[in-house]
Amino acid sequence: MSTSTAAPPTVVNFTVDGRQLSAPPGTLLIDACKRAGIEIPAFCYYEGYSLQAACRMCLVEVEKMPKLQTACTLPVMEGMIVRSETEQIHKARKGTLEFLLTNHPLDCPVCDKGGECELQDMVFRYGAGESRFTEIKNHEPERQWSPVVFYDPARCILCYRCVRACNEGMGVGALGVTNRGVVSEIAPNMVDHLDCDECGACIDICPVGALTSNTYRYKTRPWEMQHVGTVCTHCSNGCKTTLGVRNDEIVRGNNRDRSGINGEFLCVKGRYGFDVSTNEERVTSPMIRINGKLEAVSWSKALGFVAEKFRSVSTAGGSFGVVAGPHLTNEELFYLQKFTRAGLKTSNLDHARSGDLVTLLDALSGKTDALATSDDCYNTKAALVIGSDLSQQHPFLAFQLRADVRHHKANIYTVTPGPVREAKYSAQSIEVPVGGEFDALRNLTETLKGEQELVILFGDSIKGQRVRDLVEWASGLGIPVKYVCLVDYSNSRGAMDMGVMPNLLPGYEVDPHPGMSLGQMLSHETLDVLWVVGANPLRGKTLASKQAFVVTQTMFLEETSERADVVFPSASAYEKNGTVTNVTGQVQRLKAAVRTMGAKTDLEICGLLAKELGLAVEIGVWSHDVVFKEIHKSVRGYNVPLPILITGGAAATNPVNGRVAVDVRIEDIQSAGDTLFTSGELGRYSKLLTSVPEFPGALYKR
């Protein structure tokens, strides 16, 4: 035997329809053709999931192969000569369609999928309009499997896409196929209903209208909607969601165009959590407390009243406290902090903090390229999750890790206080109570030293000194390590970046005049004004100051607004333009999808208040574009390429690399511990999220 072996070829040359093509070895013919702009139709094949070869639509002719071959399972080979459209292929595909249509009802005029149905497109192309079958079609009535998912067996073409998406993509495995032959159908895991994530991935991936969603079914046709690409407003992962809007109403959310960081991934919140904006409990008019009761007043009266109060407290040297919500846009947060610091001359400014990024940045001082993005979670060779039920609290990051395991055979390690879904495919899962993480980490040290690289995702149990300990421990591994500090909500990260903290200015510059933190404000007995923008700090907490004049900007009359003297109706994130920054520091654009009568964006409300107080010139124009320009120019790390943002992409911010020398009050850092079905203040008002049987769910239980 020869000792020298030829290096494996890095490229394979082949011919499709007379065109010379090349692709890396191992590429599937269907993918190679797609990249060259040659479409090979397929129902069962789906990029990223396992191969099925069930539908027989992708049949192609390959020279020297006697029968037609399925392009979805055939890797390209050197010298292969392929024809993708010949009379024989046409006939085969037409025959396949004729078979699929033997039991498929022709109810396209009422089917949700009509207009964007892959079967419809194929029949249109190959023209299997007539059938030789004379038998009566098998018909089964449709079934409701959950408040979200409906299944119509007659429309199902058994491509198994939903089964694989649920099993492989989501790691749930709630769908299967039961029975055989002409009577086989998709089955849910609980015999007649589903116990799952209710994410709706199965509905989106269905090439026909067999799986339909309760929020969208029979409501509209795809071509009657406007499609608005924006960012999901719930958790911090920052998934892009494309909202289908008809007559100023959001009727569906999905991301079939695969724009954004998340591709087609969305969880139940991203697909269905938009109904918060149409909840009838929404505040639609400014209100002032008159004789102990909140009464609707005009905008000018409410703004004048608040401005008057602010002015008098300011003149008398009184104290202000400002609390911002983690769902506001970067522009709103930046404007609000400027208002507070430059206008109200105080740094009593905070938000509900859910992760200790500040200490992490300080601990990483001098290290470059040490913060992971969501792409890193998909590409890394190893990942370590500490103190988070990732698939519930950060569903998209968990999806990335699952895909990383499937596609790159990555090793996942978890150190959590209870069972997590990641354990099913992890290299090692350790359950330790909160506080014992470092013992578990020490046990993992030797194993991890053998990895080539590592992404560490850590939750709120690692804060303060423990963050420094973690960084020190990871430095000792001798491999490149990147970090993700997990935070709760859609713009929790942005709130920190924009300096909505008592001791840090935008871009993590130390505030020379630090103010009170959220906890300190609430317990301050003589606080004069508490201004709450898009948050509910009084849920389960009390305000120590009896004299405080409380102003809220809110969508709903929650606990804080019940204590408020003035309430302004604010817009939801589906009604706003601006930007938000996700947990991995990627900034993306929000696009207003609908308008809601009565409500104004928080930016506009703050701007109008500034104008009323005569501060408008100093604080600036309250237009999101203008404020973003200022952020782009002045906030460290936000000098991102604008074309990426404008085209709806995610631009990685580059946070400070240097000391952030401030004291972090770790008692102020606490994750809300939302499950897959809760979403803090917003989730309470989503009827769909609260209607699924899995609600509210529990962390470390599933």
Partner: protein
């Protein structure tokens, strides 16, 4: 769920044949043995097999739905399968089938009132060389004729009396 010691022994034997991580391969034989004991596949049984074979109950459910030899409804003490696929059909399988249904008064996948015999029309029992073929439980009866079939059914009925 607990099984009789004999069934349990069989289940253990088949289960231990597969290495860790590949226990799912034991799903079909385990279901067969378990079904032999009770005459049907129950939800409880599905859950038990799923647990032992490290798969979800739904995955076991898929197998049960796919294979016609696994029955969710209770079958008779003797499950008689008559093949009417091509080879047996040519050799008189269909006549055998009609004769059996007439004699027992039951049809495909039905059970006699006393729960003694259930009937199934099967697609190829894998004994074409000796067609027509009738299977009673795991027992094959080759070159069947109506007379021989009657004798078989008589013996089943007499055995009990």
């Amino acid at each position: 769920m607990t099984f009789t010691p004999e069934t349990e022994q069989k289940l253990q034997a088949i289960w231990s044949r597969y290495p860790a991580g590949r226990k799912r391969s034991a799903v079909i034989p385990m279901l067969m043995y378990a079904q032999d004991e009770t005459g049907q596949v129950t939800q409880e049984m599905i859950a038990e097999v799923a647990k032992r074979c490290e798969v979800t109950p739904l995955q076991v459910e898929e197998v049960v739905g796919y294979y016609s030899m696994l029955n969710k409804q209770k079958m008779g003490k003797h499950h008689v399968q008559v093949c009417t696929n091509i080879a047996c059909l040519l050799m008189g399988g269909e006549e055998l089938w009609h004769h059996t249904t007439k004699r027992l008064g039951i049809g495909h996948k039905q059970v006699t009132a006393d729960g003694l015999i259930s009937l199934e029309e099967v697609e190829c029992a894998g004994a074409c060389s000796w067609a027509p073929c009738v299977v009673d439980g795991y027992e094959y009866h080759h070159h069947m004729t109506i007379e021989k079939l009657d004798q078989l059914l008589d013996s089943i009925e007499n055995k009990v009396q």
